[in-house]
Each structure stands twice: as structure tokens, then as C-alpha cells.
Symmetry: C2
Subunit: 453 residues, 2 copies
Amino acid sequence: MAEPIRHDKTARQLRLLSDALDSGRLGPVRRLVNTLSPAEIGNLLESLPPGKRTVVWGLVDPEDDGEVLVHVGDEVREGLIADMDQDELVAAASDLDIDDLADLVEDLPDTVIDEVLKSMDRENRERLEQVLSYDEDSAGRLMNPDVVTVRADTTIDVVLRYLRLRGELPDHTDHLYVVSKRHQYLGRIALQALLTHEAGTPINQLLDDEQPAIDVNESSSEVARQFSDHDWISAPVVDDNNILLGRITIDDVVDIIREQAEHQVLSAAGLDEDEDLFSPVWRAMRRRLVWLSINLCTAFLAASVVGQFAATIDKLVALAVLMPIVAGMGGNAGTQVLALMVRGLALGQVGASNIKPLLWKEARVALLNGLVLGAVLGLIVLAWFHSVGLSLVIFVALTCNLVLAAVAGVLVPVTLKRAGYDPALASSIFLTTVTDVMGFFTFLGLATVVLLR
Amino acid sequence: MAEPIRHDKTARQLRLLSDALDSGRLGPVRRLVNTLSPAEIGNLLESLPPGKRTVVWGLVDPEDDGEVLVHVGDEVREGLIADMDQDELVAAASDLDIDDLADLVEDLPDTVIDEVLKSMDRENRERLEQVLSYDEDSAGRLMNPDVVTVRADTTIDVVLRYLRLRGELPDHTDHLYVVSKRHQYLGRIALQALLTHEAGTPINQLLDDEQPAIDVNESSSEVARQFSDHDWISAPVVDDNNILLGRITIDDVVDIIREQAEHQVLSAAGLDEDEDLFSPVWRAMRRRLVWLSINLCTAFLAASVVGQFAATIDKLVALAVLMPIVAGMGGNAGTQVLALMVRGLALGQVGASNIKPLLWKEARVALLNGLVLGAVLGLIVLAWFHSVGLSLVIFVALTCNLVLAAVAGVLVPVTLKRAGYDPALASSIFLTTVTDVMGFFTFLGLATVVLLR
């Protein structure tokens, strides 16, 4: 079983830093912070309450400012940007690669963007504009236009001479791309191949044209899937005419995979992955209020079902004691099915072709569990309230509610997805509404019919 | 906002495949399956019900068998292995890299392991035994012992001659490692550097000794953090004496990050990330029964609180109608705090040093939401039941329960983690027990004191 990510080192750094901050000596804090990578500094800043966050942010080496901003959530980023003056922002933005800058640019004040654009050469300005013209969640926004291309009609020694002249290659370059005269993507050459073949080998003998290029409009989640299914380090990005536009590297894909994981965990509670741990109270409150208000409405729906049976409860108060058990167990059983389905939908493993066998499997699992747990519950109720009728009613009601919960657990996320909604976000509200309403209805309804004839 | 991973291509392939299977013509199925990468085939197999899964597994190109087995969850893997005869298993295992073989070996029958070991040369057998001697969740199990090393006292042209003699490099080789005579790790040389510098350049001029090597006993989650915080493609693994043992590559790290993400989503519902979507009914039932039984016990705890107030409910049935609202809203509000905390703990952002400000922030957010929602709820209750007393009681009870839920949402996961338990797994049960028990207690208790004096 995989352990959850346990960042004990980060927690240790956080404690050290916090002690140093509390002692008021900023020298050690500065030294400590600047031994960290920008991603680690970002993580650390996110874990600090607002006051300390501002202090530590002021101590970060200005050279790292840009990279740190790229690595924090939107909400934290906003706060950090607000703490910087224009010159600092321009300097931070100017240090970044085009793809990172594109990620940041929307959060920067217009005056800063103007300054940054002015400081860039024409080629880079055009590249940035091109990257920004694509959808936020597309391959076009993830790509870096800085690629090394070679022509097919040459040999290794010519390429090596060119590379030595060129000097440093972009980060994470594992392949050179081979393009036609019109800059169409033809295939790639592994750096490895250049090193392990004789200098006279023609490039087109080493050409690997098996890896398909990524379409610039492909969604970022599909890009992430392809990288992880094919173990890519980098991949070329092309337009509709197969013109090479840039390349995507695994480090950005890892960030996407992390974000998607956080999204799944947080959206089940109606939250956003960009939520700051230390959001201002008013902002956090307003955001949660929306979710809780929806929950209040669905709670009323369930309460109104109970209200229909007020006369029954009035005659047999044991029903009020037991009804939360029936509703709650349905909710828990349904949540299990839901978790499996949300994962399956996220991995593309659940679709029209296997809903029926899934539904059938889950209904049988729920029926068996319902019979076992219903029998246990029935026996306990018999011992507690000495009523065979009540015991039978809760047995049947629990069994029915577990089966219904399983059916809802399968169908709710699938239906939401088909309707274009995010199943990770809205499923749990719908599911618990179903299990509460049906739990109260079957239990109190059966009791009314069976016990109060 | 990041979209959840939407694998529409996978879903489309699944539909195509399913149609082809239903039509009974296996030729097109075979062709379709064998255009996919092993990871994609694994994903597809996981999405198929048992019967179809067996058919498709039989059509997979035997060359891919080993890689496919590495890419599926433990439970699915068990089933696939059961479908293979000994020769097939030996062939599949023999195709694998050492690190992948180590991952698979525990699921293979002993006779197969013997055959595989016999078919290996001594060097590889020793390497496998070494990898298997490390903890399952450690760097030692993730590493591949197949590394290319060079000595510092040489020049680029010597290294290039050696590489051309050697031929192909291991997958994802972006650096060569420089070792001492005693095989101690000294640093690394980027392939890029070999290509962009003159042939006569001494290797020790290109040596990068800044990236720390990974300790072989480091946990896999810490390895994942380091890769993602430092944008590494590969990293050297050393023992306590700094002897180079192997290297870890980003593709295995991506798999860990995915597993951890699945673990967080599924363990919140008491499930395991290795659970098969199509587990046999009996197995799935037994596993879920454990979780639901724990939930049944906590539900009884909440019911017994309600039972204490049976006399009060008997006099005022409206309490039975309204009590699930107070308890349920507490559960929802607490779940929001919990989700933020579980993420924060997973990222190492929450620790002793910031619990107090977090608690203070969440308590204030909850108090504000409690006052707003409590007032709304109070007014609705006033209109519904025409009782000022009842309206005031529910206002106070909801506000109290939301604040308590926030406190529990912060403290429960932190306490569980400190006690050595996985906060993603057990927190939600504890939390909803608190919010149910306290919700019923404050609401019914207040009602008893205020309304039935």
C-alpha cells in the first residue's frame, strides 16, 4: 500500500524556520530559506500565516522570486505579488522561461507586463504572445517555444559542431527535433544516439518518427496521460499543419498531475486547489458559505421527508433515535462506490460500455452487505427496544438503502460527467441527498405501514 | 481551475474495443490492443469485467506481457497472473528491467521465480537480490542498478569512444555518473555537456556535484518530493558509504505520485488504491464490510445520544425533524476543513508551528458561517413551526456545531498523524462521529433546557 506523501523534511524545515522567526533573528532565516529550491520555498511560504509569510518573502533571494511565484497557488501568489514593488516584479518576470512567464502573466499588473514586454527582444515577445493565444488548459500553454532543431540531410559530426557552437541546450533536452525546410516536424534524435554512434552517421538513420507529436490544442490532462502512459521526458508540440511550435517537458507535467490530485481531494468538499491555507477569514467564509448553503437546502429536503412522518414519530419515538443510522449508513456505503467511480472516470476506465456490469456488481455487493449489516442492526434493535416489528422494519430499510446508495454511487457521477459537470465536485452532495431522503423515507414509511396499521 | 484528468481517448478506445468484443471478431480487437502502450493496455484491462478481461489479455502481444503486469493494480495483476501458464510468466518476467522485475516478483509463483533466476546471469541475479533486500517503499526498490559510470581523470573524447563501444544507454539516461576507484559517487555529467563542449575538455571540468545523491533507505514519498521540487529527470542512489548503487528515473516517480493521489481519494472512503473496479463480489463485500461495521458502531454512538433525549422528542416531534440538519451541516463544514488539512499534511505544510493560527482562522470562519447560516435556519424554523424558542435553540446549536466541526477538522487529522496513523484514511470517521454526537447533543440538550423547563 502506498503511503501518503509525507514531507517530513519540509515539516522539519518549517519548524526550524518558525523557531528562527520567533526568535526575531532574520539572518538564520535568510540563510535557511536560500538553501531551498524555488518549489520548496513556495511550499514553505504557503504554510506560513500572513505576517510571517511577508517577512520570509522579503528574505528570498530576488533571483528566485519569479520561480517561487510560479510554484505557489493562485491565491498565495496574489498576496506575494501585492507585497512587491514594480521593479521587483519586472526583475522577477524577466528571469523566467516563456512557458512559466505565460503562467504568471495574468496575475501581474498591466504596468509590469508592459515593462516586461519592453525588456524582451522581438523573438521572445512574439513567442510569449503565441503561447498566451492558446487555452489555459491546453498543450499550447504548457509548451516552451525554445527548441533545438536539426535537418535530416546531415551527419552526427555536423550536428555536434553546431551544438558546440550553440553552447548550452534548454533544460531537460533529451532529444533534438528534426524538421523540414518549412519547419514541419519529421521526428526526433535522442542525445544518446548522437553519443553512441560514429561521427559520420547520417542523421536520417537515427531518426525516430514513432513518437507522435502533441497537437497544440490538446487538453493538458490528455498531455499528462500521454506522458505518464509512454514514459516521456519531453514531447514536440505541432499545429494543424504539423509545424513544430515548441516542446513540453515532464517537470511541467508532474505539476499538472499534482494539481489534478489536489483538485480531486479538495473539490469533493467544494473547495478549490488554489485555496490558501491561510486565506483571509472573510474570503474563506464567503467561499465556504456557497457550499454550505447548498447543503442546507438538501438538508431541508431530507428534513421535510421526516416532517411527513411526524405523526408516526410522535407515536413511536424510537424511530427518531434509529433513523439517523439508516440514513448515515447509506451515505457511507454510497461514498465508497462513489470514490471508486470518481477514480475510474478520471482514468477513463468507466464509460457507457461497462456501466451495466459495474452497476450489477455494486448492487450485489450492497445487497450482501445490506443483509449482513441489516441483520446485525435488527438484532441490536430487538435487544434494545424489544420489538420484532421495529427490528424487521430497520432490517429491510437498511438493506434497501444500501442498494439504493450503490446505484446512486454508480449513476450520479456518470450522469454528472455526461452532463458536462465535474463528477469530483458535485457528486457527494447529490449522493448524500439521495441516501438521506431515501433512508428516512424507506425507514419511516415502512414503520408507518407495518407498525402503525 | 484544473480540470480533473479526462481520458476521453481511453474512453473512446474502450468503447471501440467493447463493440469489437461484443461482435465476437477477435482480429480487430487484437489489432486495436497492440497499437497501445503497455500502460494503456493495463488501464484498458482494469476497465473490463472479468470475462472480457481474460479474452483481451490472451490477445496481448507476449512481448508486452511483463510491462502490462507492472502497470496494473495488485488485485488485477493477481487475476492476470492466474490466467498465464508457467512458460508465459517466465518469458514475461525475463523481459523486464531489474526495478520492474523486483516490483513484480512477489506476486509470481515460486516455481516461476526459480526459473527466472536460473535464466539470469550472475550479475543481474545479484542485482535483483540487492534491490529486493530494501523496503518496499524505499529508494532501494525504485532504483535500477543499470547505470553508466565514468572516471573523473579523463576527457570527453575518451568518454565518447567508450559510449560508442558500449552502444545503447539505459532509458532516460540524461547524466553519466562519475565515481571514484572504490565506486563512490562524486558527481554527474550531463549528456548535454558532452555534446556542447570540445572533445579535449577534461571530465572533471564538467562535473556537477551540486545535486545530492539519494540515500538508498529514503522513503519513496520523500524521493517523489525531491524529484518534483527539483525538476529532476534521474538521480543517483547511494548507500551509507556513498557507494553508487543505482539510479531512479522520473517515470517511476510519476507512478508514485499517481498512486499517492489515488490513495488519498480512495482511503477517505476506507478503500485501497489497489482495489479492482471489478473485484469479485465476495471479496469486495468483505472489504467494505469492515469499514461499514466501524461506521455502524459510530452511528450507534450518535443514536444513543438521541436516545438520551427520547422524552424531549416525545414532547416536541419537531426536534426529530430538525436534528439531522444540525448534525449534517456540522459534518459538511468539518469535511471542508478536513480536506484542506489532509492536503496540508500531505505537502508537509501543516505542523506544530502553525496549528494555533490555523485553528484560530478556521474557528473564526466557522463562527461567521454559523452565525449567518444559523440565522437563516432560525428564520425558516420560525416560519415553519412558529416557535421563537425552537428558532433560537437551532440558531445557537448550529453555530456551536459548526465551530466544533472546524476545531475537530483541524485537530483530528493532526492528532491521527502524530499517533502514526494515516490521516487520509481514518479522519472522516472520527470527524463525523464528533459532528453527529455534538450536533445531536447541543440541539436536543439545549431544547430540553430551554423549551421543556
